[in-house]
């Protein structure tokens, strides 16, 4: 009880100090406490691991000016409690690193007005809530191009987590990339209703491969699908971190996240008092993610993938240029147009040609 009370008092003091001072001098005397809330275990070797790599980068760059705390494997319905507790302990900047945390973040943020929140993906900002995300779809487009070159069965298998726009537009973009090479490409999708469940992810990969898919894309966090692709002699892509070593024969490329620079930037903003709610959506050119070296590809295939990647990076190629037609045949974006960021982030339909049930 006493420990708790002391912690609360410390937190209250820090908050009071923050409210009245909020100056660099204060920050130097007391390091800025930065909290990180992860949706998965820090050792998932994927999404959460890479956020933790970013956290370590923050500590490395900022040294004694920051003090970080990470809470891993937090369920979405428990996030508000964790955030409140971090705030009480004096954390003034909290990164809530999952789309599943966006709604809880929006609920808890007004109750903790002295804390700055940074939600990794989301749909709107608030007075003390920023959004940050990377345009992973650019990597998905490259995956589609590569998959179309590597697939003999002309069928991509996609292990999807939840039917949220982030996943839906990724599936669309993979196919856009694949169709740019071969319009006859098909996709099969299995929803596993989890971000992290290695066993079920592997089961999904087995099912897809048994049904003739020979390139596996995963939108979940563990290396299990890629490892299984390796075992079964088909190809796959790594997710969030460079997963080459899990599948030396199957790995084509991985989308490798890099949050560290952003974390440094935002912590500095809090310390010098310039933090404002922002909405950052960084593409390949922002450095927020990169593609791991292309492996198991012929030089021609690799150079094509590089060309596509560079075109996306420089903006010469945009995956959401019209015409975009919904599965039901209606036009979402006419020819000559381009989907806006808001449209991309709210995408709740598959393109025509993707014959997959979209859970509602």
């Amino acid at each position: 009880m006493q420990i708790n009370r002391r912690q609360i008092l410390q937190g209250a003091t820090a908050l009071a100090g923050a409210a009245t001072l909020g100056q660099p001098a204060f920050a130097q005397a007391n390091p800025l406490q930065v909290g990180f809330i992860y949706v998965g275990p820090v050792g998932d070797f994927g999404w959460s691991t890479m956020h933790d790599v970013g956290r370590k980068r923050l500590e490395e760059v900022m040294g004694a000016a920051v003090k970080t705390t990470a809470v891993e494997a937090v369920a979405a319905n428990d996030m508000e409690r964790v955030a409140t507790q971090l705030a009480r302990q004096g954390h003034r900047l909290i990164f809530t690193t999952s789309f599943s945390f966006f709604q809880p973040t929006m609920r808890v943020a007004p109750t903790l007005p002295n804390v700055f929140f940074e939600s990794a993906t989301g749909t709107q900002t608030a007075a003390n809530v920023s959004l940050y995300n990377a345009r992973f779809y650019e990597g998905r487009y490259v995956q589609g191009v590569i998959a179309a070159r590597k697939s003999k069965s002309k069928t991509i298998g996609y292990i999807a987590s939840f039917p949220v726009p982030e996943v839906v537009h990724a599936i669309n973009t993979v196919m856009r990339g694949a169709w740019s090479v071969d319009p006859s490409m098909k996709i099969r999708v299995v929803w596993v209703n989890a971000w992290f469940n290695p066993g079920r992810e592997a089961d999904a990969a087995r099912a897809l491969i048994d049904q003739g898919c020979d390139v596996i894309c995963a939108h979940t966090d563990s290396p299990a699908p890629l490892q299984l692709a390796n075992e079964r002699g088909v190809f796959g892509f790594g997710q969030a971190s460079d997963m080459t070593r899990f599948a030396p024969k199957a790995h084509l490329t991985s989308s490798v996240n890099n949050w560290g620079d952003y974390y440094v930037e935002r912590a500095k903003a809090v310390i010098d008092g310039s933090w404002k709610p922002g909405d950052v959506w960084g593409g390949l050119n922002s450095g927020m993610f990169r593609l791991a070296p292309f492996t198991n590809m012929t030089p021609e295939e690799a150079s094509e993938a590089e060309r596509v990647r560079d075109a996306l990076s420089t903006g010469r190629l945009h995956p959401f240029d019209g015409p975009l037609t919904r599965a039901d045949g209606t036009v979402a974006v006419p020819a000559g147009g381009r989907a806006t960021d808001d449209q991309i982030r709210a995408m709740n339909y598959f393109y025509r040609g993707i014959d997959v049930a979209l859970p509602s």
Binding site: G40, P41, V42, G43, D44, F45, T49, E72, A73, G157, P163, R188, V189, V190, W191, V192, N193, A194, F196, N197, P198, G199, R200, E201, A202, D203, A204, R206, A207, L208, D210, Q211, C213, S222, P223, A224, Q227, L228, E231, R245, F246, D355, V356, A357, P359, S360
Partner: protein, 305 residues
Amino acid sequence: MTMFEAILLTIITASTPLLIGAIGQLVCERSGVLNLGMEGMMIMGAACGFAAAILSGNSYVGVLAAILAGMAMSLIFAVLTLGLAANQVASGLALSIFGLGLSGVIGAPFVGAKRDQMAKLDLPVLTDIPLIGKALFGQDPFVYASFALVIGVWWFLARTKSGLVLRACGENHASAHALGYPVLKIRLLAILFGGGCAGLAGAYLSLVYTPFWSPGMTAGRGWIALAIVVFASWLPWRVLAGAYLFGGITILQLHAQGAGVKIPSQFMAALPYLVTILVLVIIMSRRGGQQAAPASLGTPFVPDR
């Protein structure tokens, strides 16, 4: 390999950890002890098994380490519930949480380490049986072990005197005690058996199912194994049926999704649970609502009373 074989193979893979975990838990519960620490014991088995396999380079050393880890975890539970007559539900829940945390610490140096899947053990001649041969007899040793465990546990409980004594402890520990049977010792052995099986199930996850270590990788399978024991109304053959029913529907719904069946995926994901509950209801209604649980299940036993 035909589609039928492929699906059967995947179902076996998905069902085996549930079966191994549940059959161990069944013995434990038949002796009158409810150990909700299944998830914690299982994941400790996964972590220690993987760690030992990496360090020794031998999968069988990993398996042994996993069994020992599961037993060590269950020993903690035994000390609390048998030695101190603590509440079994609370102790079991604590064990689950403890195991999830401790396994993360033990496994931390092994995150990202890679191992090849444990070698399969083909049974000659039998693998040539059409359709099911390859799927049933071209498996890893765990699958054979799981079937052997079901047969062994059935034989032990139904056909041996020791099995009868164990059941007596579960049905009425005071009577068993009055007859001069060492209730606590029998329960200790049953708990250790349950722990060993949970550890073995964990080893299956980290050495065969998805051969790497990742914290939380059991993803609730321990709880499902617990539920299967209830589903099976504490009978070994029904544990087999329950594990394969659950595993089978889990895999079939993934295949149905991949094949483009237009049913919401959330419903598909819930299907294994729905069907299991439905079957349970049918079984129970046929039994006329008869109470199937061991009568002393979950009740602490203090010898001197």
